[in-house]
């Protein structure tokens, strides 16, 4: 399931592209007024760090491109099998959906959905696990709302 070599090469290339984009944005940093001439320019440090990131990403690309591995991960894959990949990616989607639903519809609908959606994403079928997770969700809500006095809206 997706070799480390391909995934890491693509990731490093993306890092290089994004770093160049950020370095370009940093070119536009300007201080105004009296502080404008104090010390080193604001772009200095971010661009220095971005330069280091780009150098590291190029070396990583080189290692995967020429040697086929970096740190002894030759022949390894990102996911052990298709099931792991599906569960991990679906869970990631569920967490983003729950965050967005909290912002749009409020805490309680999100909290009710989070448990079952997560369990569905993980392929869980036992009803007692759904009940347990809902119970724990209720406990979290009660503790934060009534014990700590936090308004979860």
């Amino acid at each position: 399931m997706l070799s480390q070599r391909i995934a890491n090469t693509v990731f490093a290339l993306l890092v290089i592209l994004i770093s160049f984009y950020f370095a370009w944005i940093a070119e536009g940093f300007e201080a105004s007024g009296l502080l404008a001439s104090s010390g080193l320019p604001s772009k200095f440090f971010p661009q220095l760090i971005l330069g280091t990131i780009i150098a590291c990403a190029i070396i990583t690309c080189y290692l995967y491109g020429i040697k086929g591995e970096a740190g002894g991960d030759a022949g390894e894959t990102v996911f052990d099998n298709a099931g792991d990949a599906r569960r991990g990616i679906l869970m990631l989607i569920v967490s983003v959906v729950c965050y967005l639903s909290w912002r749009s519809f409020g805490f309680i609908p999100m909290a009710i959905l989070l448990g079952p959606l997560s369990l569905l994403a993980m392929g869980i079928k036992q009803p007692y696990i759904y009940a347990t997770v809902w119970g724990l969700t209720g406990c979290v809500y009660l503790i934060f709302t009534y014990l700590l006095g936090i308004q979860l809206v």
Binding site: F29, S32, G71, G88, T137, Q151
Partner: protein, 498 residues
């Protein structure tokens, strides 16, 4: 330096029933979270953070320190019982601990692990009490050049040990630093990478970023193995503490591992896992029967377990005296101090001596209480290993959401939590270590400010960086740290050939 009045205040607060309750709760919670596979000390501390917002500083620190110490120990229980380390710090314990458990000597293995953890923890507290005031009095004289040297030291060391690939480790460390450049420039007020939102004026918030990086990424990784089931035999779980005679036979391993753990803890950026591995390999190297390691021997448990708990006191030395975290867990602890309105650093010793005394005494008490709680609760706590991952995943995710939201009632912070979690998940899947990323994120502001101030003072000359005896000593130590391994192996190779 000694302040009797502050000592009396801290003793009074420590004797408060609420503080005592929090201390016990911290140990129990830490042990529980440590047992659950994947949830280590940084996550344990991060999940408890929201509960500390409304507490006084001393009780909240006692709670978090109890969680920190017990979570490291708790990881060994699942490592021994099922061969799955609860925390990274317990990975080295699996080899011998689980072999002993399978041989029907689980109680003995747990006894060695508990005893080693207590001794290592107590040893490191003594070192913390002795070293930190001295380092704090020295650190008062530190200027930008010295802080720059410490930050570079911390970052390079964590990059070297965190992963198998140096460029990948450095990439993560620098990425962490880069993310701290977002927000208003502290020196001249320039807007940097704010993307037009005022939320980013103060940069990316520390606590949501760290909780996302550790807890949310672990939730996502945990979801992949949600269908795996854990079974083990509970009969072998009655703790059997080693006798004094047995401990006397292990005194060299215990003493050496305590020193290794404390020193590795003190080195900025190092964690308990590194200390445990180092102590294990050192014990094996010095043993007359190295081939016995990995077959289920007490030395193979006591060495890593002593060292990993010894990193706790060690890690607090740079965290409290310099504001530079000694481990990822200490980085989260540093965030807790910031939330309490305190700035970790040398001035903390003169501004809040009561807090310092409370931390020193509290850690002593935590380690001693951990022995009794460990003995009493281990069988019950071990049952938690069987809690399905599918229950842990949504619960931890919800706790992370709610915990971060409750800090400032900010959806932006929850967004940062999610972003950091996804970033952590992606890079972990690609074989990157998140330790340099977290340490880079904490060290970034110190590094940038000290670099820019140093360059300004020195009129842009890099040579001036080395014009400070303390800074020069730190750089020399860094070079020695990097070259020490290759030099030693070269000497050994030559002596073997001869």
């Amino acid at each position: 330096m000694f302040d009797l009045n502050a000592l009396m205040i801290s003793l009074g607060l420590l004797a408060d029933p609420l503080t005592i309750t929090l201390l016990v709760v911290g140990i129990v919670l830490g042990m529980i979270i440590g047992i659950l596979p994947g949830l280590g000390p940084p996550i344990a501390i991060a999940l408890a953070l929201p509960f500390t917002f409304y507490m006084e500083t001393i009780p909240s620190m006692i709670l978090l320190l109890g969680i920190y110490s017990a979570a490291i120990y708790g990881g060994s229980i699942s490592a021994i019982a099922v061969g799955i380390p609860g925390t990274g710090a317990a990975i080295a314990t699996v080899q011998d601990g689980h072999k002993m458990f399978k041989a029907g000597r689980g109680g003995e293995a747990l006894g060695f692990s508990l005893t080693g953890s207590i001794i290592g923890g107590l040893f490191s507290v003594v070192c913390l009490v002795v070293i930190s005031p001295l380092l704090a009095s020295l650190a008062v004289k530190f200027g930008p050049r010295e802080y720059l040297a410490i930050s570079v030291f911390g970052l390079i060391v964590v990059v070297r040990v965190a992963g198998k690939s140096l460029p990948k480790g450095l990439l993560m460390g620098t990425l962490g630093i880069f993310l701290t450049t977002w927000g208003l420039d502290e020196l001249n007020g320039t807007e940097r990478f704010t993307f037009g939102t005022y939320h980013l004026y103060e940069g990316l918030p520390l606590v949501p970023f760290l909780v996302g990086l550790f807890a949310v990424s672990e939730v996502l990784i945990g979801s992949e193995r949600a269908l795996q089931k854990t079974r083990f035999n509970m009969d072998s779980l009655k703790v059997k503490l080693p006798g004094l005679k047995t401990l006397a036979g292990l005194k060299d391993v215990i003493f050496r591992s305590s020193i290794i753990g404390t020193i590795i803890g003190i080195i900025p950026g190092e964690g308990a896992a590194v200390g445990a591995f180092f102590a294990y390999s050192e014990a094996k190297r010095r043993s007359k029967t190295p081939e016995a390691y990995g077959t289920g021997i007490p030395e193979g448990i006591i060495a890593p377990e002593t060292a990993n708990n010894a990193t706790v006191g060690g890690a607090l030395v740079p965290t409290l005296t310099l504001g530079v975290p000694g481990s990822p867990a200490a980085a989260v602890l540093l965030g807790a101090l910031l939330i309490q309105g305190l700035t970790p650093g040398p001035k903390l010793f003169s501004d809040r001596p009561d807090l310092m005394y409370a931390i020193f005494i509290g850690l002593f008490v935590i380690n001693i209480l951990m022995m009794f709680i460990g003995l009493l609760a281990i069988r019950f706590a071990a049952r938690l290993i069987m809690v399905p991952t599918s229950v842990i995943v949504p619960t931890v995710l919800l706790l992370s959401f709610v915990g971060i939201y409750s800090v400032s009632y900010s959806f932006f912070n929850v967004g940062v939590l999610m972003g950091a979690g996804i970033l952590g998940y992606v890079v972990r899947k690609l074989g990157y270590s998140i330790a340099p990323l977290s340490i880079g994120f904490v060290l970034g502001p110190i590094l940038e400010n000290s670099l820019r101030q140093s360059l300004t003072i020195a009129d842009g000359s890099f040579v001036e960086f080395f014009n400070s005896p303390i800074g020069l000593t730190i750089y020399a130590t860094l070079v020695l740290t990097i070259l020490w391994g290759p030099i030693i192996s070269r000497i050994r190779k030559n002596s073997t050939k001869a």
